[in-house]
Symmetry: D2
């Protein structure tokens, strides 16, 4: 299924369940996909940051693509991350994603290297020219250490290079600059998705088309209720739902201090999915440190508090 | 050839010549290796940052490994970079480097993800356990966005996990902390190499064992003269040579402002190698912008000024 | 006039008009105050970042306090910035502000020095204990290079140390953490003001009590319309007004690149006030570079486009 | 005493002893000055970062200036920090320092505000024009969040605006760029002092004229031995002395983690001066947290290890 128009709605970044031996747990992965589809999501984003894509070998990545695209079988579009340091390495991932039947691609600016805006433009143009699929820019300064400039994003959108953006910058004024620029310049079919799962109601209020919430793995129903309420103009319900999800998000802090913030968050997501019976193992990829029993118990409390256990 | 003891001397990070179609130019690469061996270098570091490793596909990386290791044929040790985001992806590069016959491996801390010191330790321990080859830590905060802690490095050295470090942090006090800590704790066979090509005389003076100079691609003879002078205790000659090389290094600035600092430096290095007749094309990998004619002419002036053209 | 309860509504950070000789232009300053009062603002914040407080000597600061507090004469509360590097220096400004009759104080975390959260708590507690006036924390990481932690802010609010916060961090998820934490912990009389003038509608929607908009100097009527619409639950009007102001804000970019972002913004604000006839000179404090004629003409175009000229 | 030529040698940044009530302890301050003069220092730098200048009110600063300049009575030059956010505020400190009889001034680039290189140049030019005293640039990116550009520093030196630089950036390649640029451009009477107290031998080896070591408060004799050895070309003795001082410097870490790095270092310096009997109280300025008994005991161990107790 190719996305004729740009993506919208709730498109969670799908966690990648692992076996204790650190292989992709495909049985758990298909259960997770079913859990998300049951939650009413509008699409799936595989191989994003919440998918631990930085920790997955090329072999793991192919297994994820084949498993999810095969299991979804066109029910919703599947966007595939093609995350790597620079254009040539990204193009290898593009070939794999296209071969697997992805509906769209998601790429960051170059990282590890020191590039400039002109080179970021070359990067996206080259990927789009080779891919033959809709391309989304992924703005994630916390990982990439570059903030995509709104004017550059809009130029690439107007050129047809970019089909959309997943904005995980947390910079809501910059998000609004893209949203107003899209309207003022009359750029049709450009999808603006927020990756900031704690300000979804306000992003939609400002004009965003959808959300890519990591927390949506745990509670997809919550995010689809939020989105549908906002779509109907029932903003108060949308805000109530967002505030409930905001409080639930506190579970990412259970192990902070004892490990990096990323490991704490991914570990808590997987512990929650394991506690809810969706995946078989809470295993995260090395070199991440696993949550201990006390931290896992606190994740359980958060789930109970949110009515999810 | 396995490195029985830790590496020392001049070990340039070998540039990766490319064809205009962005494939590895193996003929130029072997000429570059000969140029470096002729310069009297003590080892070669392939697939480092100056090798544009961030821009090379896995296929390109294998070609580089096979070409260089095959051509060197044991004359000097070849250290291979295994640069990627996290442990599982690094391990794939480890397997390729081991299969190709590398003498030692060079790995950074995880990047793109947010890790903690405890997880960085797991990372290096896992790589060392799997590799069966000497492992060097590569400290490059400008790319990795983490500074390796001196105490952690020394602990891993004392454990036998790390055989050495390539310190490109530019933090000379932290370098000295490793050097004094090595001595005070009596850690034998731990090699400390500086990647700061502009302060080599002082790094050696403080006790470093060698240098990994990107500029050594252009003027390996200069860096080996510097090292040999320092080894003999002729520090004045070492400083004079370093100051000459410092001025030559100015060529990295020719395109700064028009592109990123990395592209300007790598473009200038390749332009210089092309002008000196070592490689066939000054091509850099996408999405880097090529130097223009005026910038290339300024590189030529720098070479002429240094007596290299 | 002392603020019995915490501040709310539109409280612009008042620009500090200067003479060409770089003295405070008190005649222009009183006209600016009248312009803001005519705009219906709910309070005034003097000696904040938009007031160029970093560029004002202690003498200038006293002149500003005396001029504004004297002229306002209790019509609205006047909050006074006490911006300096550490506690002892801030306390000197506190004494001056109290003597001048300020209604409340606004202080940042320490800067220039490297402190810790525990020391930031000591800082605010010491100021509050000495001041005898309501104290607002000013969260401005772009200047202070520390982000105030939401949990610390809430603890200090619950203790009665802080009466409110001006959040200029641009981090809307962190703003929401304070807002929800205030509600969940039942902290009464704690005022949350956003300094992010481009996302005021959404900040109010999330529960913020007011806004401190630099751009409110130029168009106070716009911000009070926005606030009043939001207060009545007419969010569509609030958003329309915010989007109009968002486009107007583009004037801060007219000189970017030729000077620092701060100088470009402050220069554009003062040029706009001069063009609108509110202040006599567009002079900014040294070492800021003045806008040139072409840049000033572009400010005028922005004003015309917004119906303000 | 005015410095006819640029400063050189060992010029410690003088700590500011405080009473338990946080007033300047002038008796201890004069003892500290005597301790430093006894150590053979070549000048004194008051009101620098190690002097807790960021924590001193204007009144405290005047007391320090009067006490030290009066007590020194021309035996060595006294350089006075004029540290504040921007030009107008710095100029107020300049007036006070000139009135007190300082021999030279030391100023950073603007901080808290966002400036540009062109504005930094205006800043230093304005200060130099008003001061009528030699002006030193203070490069301290950890506090100022701007790195002074070597080319700009050299231009201002060639113009006669700057008499010298105190480089505390820790960037030894950039330090060398200034040193070689000074030589290549034939800039006479421009003094380059390193503030990096752990790499003094190598900075002198590269051509620096002197050092401004915070640790020199504790062990001035060590730093003057280091400098004199280097001056005579006895680099091995210089290095041995530096290595001994390097190990002593570890005392700054005794309280790290429990407080900010700055407070830990300043607290350890003052504890050491107190333990050595130089000052009456180890008090640091608020909001800094004091060292506890166990941390103080560890400072004592460091002193004993270095033969200073």
């Amino acid at each position: 299924m190719t996305i004729a128009t740009a993506a919208s709605g709730v498109i969670p970044p799908v966690c990648t369940p692992l076996t204790p031996a650190h292989e992709v747990d495909t049985a758990s992965l298909t259960r997770l996909v079913d859990h998300l589809l049951d939650g009413g999501v509008d699409g799936l984003f595989v191989l994003g940051s919440s998918s631990e894509t930085a920790f997955l070998t090329d072999g793991h990545r192919r297994t994820v693509l084949d498993t999810v695209i095969g299991h979804v079988a066109g029910q919703v579009p599947v966007l595939a991350g093609v995350i790597d340091m620079t254009t040539p390495r990204v193009l290898d991932h593009v070939r794999a994603a296209v071969a697997a039947g992805a509906d769209a691609l998601v790429a960051t600016a170059p990282f590890y290297t020191l590039t400039s805006p002109a080179e970021i433009a070359v990067h996206f143009r080259t990927i789009a020219a080779r891919a033959g699929l809709p391309l989304y820019a992924y703005d994630l300064p916390v990982s990439v250490h570059t903030k995509l400039d709104a004017a550059l994003v809009l130029d690439l959108a107007a050129e047809g290079v970019l089909t959309g953006i997943k904005d995980s910058s947390g910079n809501e004024a910059a998000l609004r600059e893209v949203l107003l620029g899209r309207r003022d310049r009359g750029i049709a079919s450009f999808s603006v998705l927020t990756g900031s799962e704690l300000t979804v109601d306000t992003a939609l209020w400002m004009g965003a088309d959808g959300v890519v919430p990591g927390l949506g793995n745990i509670d997809p129903h919550g995010y689809t209720r939020l989105f549908h309420a906002a779509s109907k103009g029932d903003w108060t319900t949308a805000r109530d739902e967002q505030e409930r999800l905001f409080r639930l998000y506190d579970l990412v802090k259970v192990a902070r201090g004892r490990m990096g913030g990323g490991s704490s968050a991914l570990g808590a997501f997987k512990a929650a999915l394991h506690l809810r019976g969706v995946i078989d193992h809470p295993t995260t990829a090395p070199p991440q440190i696993p949550l201990n029993a006390e931290e896992t118990a606190r994740v359980a409390e958060h789930l109970t508090g949110a009515g999810l256990l």
